[in-house]
Symmetry: C2
Subunit: 446 residues, 2 copies
C-alpha cells in the first residue's frame, strides 16, 4: 500500500519528459521568461541588495548563477536568492485556484541544480513542469483551509514543488524522492503575518533552497520518512487541521494539470485595476495618444476598484500601486504598469499627476471584476470608447507571448545590455532544443 507522498513521488519520477504536453513545455518557457524579467528588475531593490551582499559574503563555490547579480554561488544559495528576487515585487505568476505562486519556489531550485549538472534544456523544462504541478497539487489539496489559517501557501506548498523539481534533475528514484519530500516538507514555513515585509519574498527563497537541499541530501541517503503529507503528524494533520483533499492531490494524474490554471501578471500592482490599465494602453496604442491631448478619462468599474484603489492623490510609490487614478495615468503616459511606474518619482511626476487629476470612476454592480468600460475625451472634442470584456493575465485569458516579450524587454532592459537581453530571451524560447541549460544561465548573471 502506497502512502500519498509515495504516490506523488511516483508521478513525478515516472512521467517521461517527452510525453509532457507541448503547451506545458511552452508554459515553462513563459514562466522562465517572466521570472528572468521580474528578477532582473528586482535585483536593484533595497531588499535585494541585502541578500546579494550576503550571497557574496558566503563566497560559496560557483556552481549556479544569481539572476542579475554578476555572481555565482552554490545551488542552494542561488535558489534562495533567485526565489527571493522572483517574489520581491509581487510580480510573479499565480495559480489562480490557490493564490500559490509556483515559479518563485520551483524554478530557482530546478535552474540552479540544472546549471550545476549541465542538464539538457528539455529535462530542465520537464523538471519545472512536474515540480510546479506537485506544488500546485499540494496547494490545492489544502485550499482554502491552510491559507485561511494564516499560512503563506507559496512558502509552504512551495517546498514540495522545489524538492520534486530538484529531484527530477538529480534523477532520484521513488524512494529517494519520498525521503526528499519528507525533508523538504518538514521545513515548510511562512506565515502571512510578515506580508508587507522582506519576510514574504523570503518564503519563496526558503522554499526553493529547502527543496533543493532536501533532494541533494536524499540522493546520498538522507531520510525523511514515508509520508510527510498524509502521515499522522504530517503536513495535512499539522498545518491544515480544518480540512484537506486527497483527490485534489492525487486524482487524474496526466489529465488534470494544475499548471493550466497558472497566469502571468501584466501589471505590477493589484489585479483589480488591470482592466483599466489594459484599456488605456490599447486606446493609447490605437490612437497614439499623448498626455496633452487628454480632457478626461472616465471608467465604469466593478465596485472593488473604488473600494480598494480610490486614491486621487498618492504621495509615494507604494500608494500609487493602490490608486486606480495613478494606474490609469501612468498607463496613458508610459504605456506600462511595471515597478518603474510606481516609484516615488513617478508618483510626483507633473505630467502623470496632470493626467491623474482627470481620471474619474463610476461604480456599476453589473460589471465583472476583469471588465471595464472606458471613455476618453480629448481636448480636440473627440470621444474614444473601449470595452475590455476580460482583462488578460488569467488562465482563461492569458497574456500573449507578445505582451510577455514586451514586459520582458521593459524589465530586463533596466539591467542587461540590449544585445544580452535579446540573446537571453532567444535562448529561453529555444531551451527545449538546447543540449545544456547553461545556454540560458550563463546569460542571466548580468
Amino acid at each position: 500500500m502506497k502512502t500519498v507522498t509515495q504516490s506523488l513521488a511516483e508521478f513525478v519520477v515516472s512521467t517521461e519528459a517527452n510525453v509532457l504536453p507541448d503547451w506545458s513545455i511552452h508554459e515553462a518557457k513563459r514562466t522562465l521568461i517572466n521570472m528572468l524579467a521580474i528578477s532582473l528588475s528586482a535585483s536593484r531593490a533595497e531588499g535585494a541588495r541585502i541578500v546579494l551582499d550576503w550571497v557574496r559574503d558566503e563566497a560559496a563555490a560557483e556552481h549556479a548563477s544569481v539572476i542579475g547579480a554578476g555572481v555565482g554561488t552554490s545551488p542552494g544559495i542561488a535558489a534562495l536568492a533567485n526565489g527571493f528576487l522572483c517574489h520581491l515585487q509581487d510580480y510573479d505568476d499565480t495559480h489562480f485556484p490557490t493564490i500559490l505562486h509556483p515559479t518563485a519556489p520551483v524554478w530557482p531550485a530546478v535552474l540552479a541544480l540544472a546549471e550545476k549538472h549541465a542538464a539538457t534544456g528539455r529535462d530542465t523544462l520537464a523538471a519545472f513542469v512536474l515540480g510546479a504541478e506537485a506544488a500546485c497539487r499540494v496547494a490545492i489539496s489544502v485550499h482554502p483551509w491552510h491559507y485561511d489559517q494564516g499560512w503563506h501557501i507559496t512558502g509552504t506548498a512551495g517546498v514540495f514543488g522545489a524538492a520534486a523539481g530538484a529531484g527530477r534533475i538529480l534523477g532520484l528514484d521513488k524512494d529517494k524522492l519520498t525521503n526528499a519530500l519528507g525533508v523538504a516538507g518538514t521545513l515548510a514555513a511562512g506565515v502571512r503575518e510578515v506580508f508587507g515585509t522582506h519576510g514574504k519574498p523570503l518564503h519563496a527563497g526558503h522554499a526553493a533552497e529547502a527543496g533543493l537541499r532536501a533532494a541533494t541530501w536524499a540522493q546520498h541517503g538522507f531520510t525523511g520518512g514515508s509520508d510527510i503529507i498524509g502521515g499522522r503528524r504530517g503536513f495535512w494533520a499539522v498545518a491544515s487541521r480544518d480540512g484537506h483533499s486527497e483527490d485534489a492531490l492525487l486524482g487524474e494524474f496526466g489529465e488534470r494539470w494544475e499548471l493550466r490554471n497558472n497566469g502571468l501578471k501584466p501589471f505590477a500592482n493589484g489585479i483589480v485595476s488591470h482592466p483599466i490599465q489594459q484599456g488605456v494602453i490599447e486606446l493609447r496604442d490605437e490612437h497614439a495618444l499623448k498626455p496633452d491631448q487628454i480632457e478626461s478619462i472616465s471608467v465604469r468599474v466593478h465596485p472593488l476598484v473604488v473600494e480598494l484603489m480610490n486614491r486621487a492623490d498618492p504621495r509615494v510609490g507604494l500608494e500609487g500601486k493602490f490608486s486606480f487614478q495613478h494606474c490609469a495615468a501612468a498607463a496613458l503616459v508610459d504605456g506600462a504598469g511595471h515597478d518603474a511606474q510606481f516609484t516615488d518619482e513617478k508618483v510626483r511626476d507633473p505630467v502623470i499627476a496632470g493626467v491623474r487629476a482627470k481620471v474619474a470612476a463610476t461604480v456599476d454592480e453589473a460589471i465583472m471584476e476583469d471588465e471595464v468600460y472606458l471613455t476618453v475625451k480629448l481636448v480636440d472634442g473627440r470621444t474614444l470608447d473601449k470595452h475590455v470584456v476580460h482583462a488578460t493575465g488569467s488562465p482563461t485569458n492569458p497574456m500573449t507571448d507578445d505582451a510577455l516579450e514586451e514586459k520582458y524587454r521593459a524589465l530586463a532592459g533596466e539591467v542587461l545590455p540590449a544585445q544580452q537581453s535579446g540573446d537571453l530571451l532567444s535562448a529561453v524560447w529555444a531551451l527545449d532544443e538546447a543540449a545544456d541549460v547553461q545556454a540560458v544561465t550563463r546569460l542571466m548573471r548580468k
Copy 2:
C-alpha cells in the same frame, strides 16, 4: 504600546552581560561542554557524513568551524551542521517543562557568529543564556498545545532563540532584533512526523541557521514585521491555535529563568532506565565489580520501566536502547551508557550478553520514575544493595560537573587526541575570562 515580540526583544537586548547570574554563565559552559561531547561523537555517524560532505561541497568562505569535521565554512552553514550534529543522537539537553532542546538550535548560532566576529568569551556565554531563555520562553508560551498539534518544538521555538542569541552577538538594537525575530519566526518549521529520520536533527540545524541568517540580514535593514509572535497571523495564532500564554512568555523577566529548568542527559538512551544505570555504575565503582563476579542483578522499579523497556534479548543496537537488561549489563561491564554502548557489536558482545541474562525486574507502584532499588548478588555469596532516590539529569538533581567531564572525555576521546580534548575542555571552563571565543572554536574543528 509594545507588541509581545518587541517586549521579548527588549529583554534580550537590554540585559547586560555582567548582570547575568553566575549560575547561568556556569550552565552555559556546561551546555557547551555537553554539545561538544555529543557533536564530536555524532560526527562519525552516517547522517553526519552526508551533511559534512555537503558542507565541503558548498565550500563557503571559512569564518566558522564545524565540530569535529576539520572544516571551516560560513556562519550559517556551520550553524546548520552543528545544530544537526548536536541533536543527531538525541543526547543533548532538555528543558523539562516543554521537552525543548535549547542548546542544539541556540549554541550553534551563537558560536558561529561569535567566532566570525571574535566576540569575547563573556559576551558569547551571555548571548547563549539570553538566546536559550528566549527559546524556552517561546516554547513554554505555547506548551502543551503546540507540541500536541504535532510540531517539534525544538525546530519551531528554536528559531527565536537562535535569532536572539545571534542578535546579541551582532549588537542589534530592539527594532532590528524585532525584525530578526520576525524573519526567523516565519521560518519556524519541523513536524513530529519525521521523528526517527534525519529530519529530526535537521530541525535543530535549520533553526540555528534560520535564526543566525535572520539576525545577519536584519542588521542590514531586512524587515520582518513588528509582532511575529502575537500578531494576528503570527506564531501563536497560526501554529498554536489551541492556546498560548503571554505571561509565560513575558512574565518575571530576570526573576524566573527557564534555563534553570534545563537538564543534561547522563545516558544516551530513554530516561526511564537511567536510575538503574546510575545505581549499577555506583556499585561497580564502589566495589570494583567485574562481569564474572555477577550472580544476578535484581531491580525494583516504576512500572514504566517494564512497560517500555522490557527486552531481554535485543539483537541490534537500537533495540539495546530500549532494553533495561542491556542498559544494566552495559553499565556493569563498561561503566557507561553512551552511544558506544548501543552499537550492534555491543549488543552481541558475549560478556555483556552474559550479564544481561542475569538481570531481572520487579514492578512496584510505590517507586518513583527517577528511583530504583538494586540488589546485586555475587558468585562469592555477597549481596550488595543500592537505593537511588533521584537519578541525576533532571533540573532538581543535575549531573555533577565531574559526571559531565566524564561524559565529555568518553565522547570527545572517540574523535580528538587526548591533549586537544583536554585543552578544549579547559578552554570552555575558562571561557568567561577569554578575550576571544576562538580560544574554544579553533580547538573543536578536529
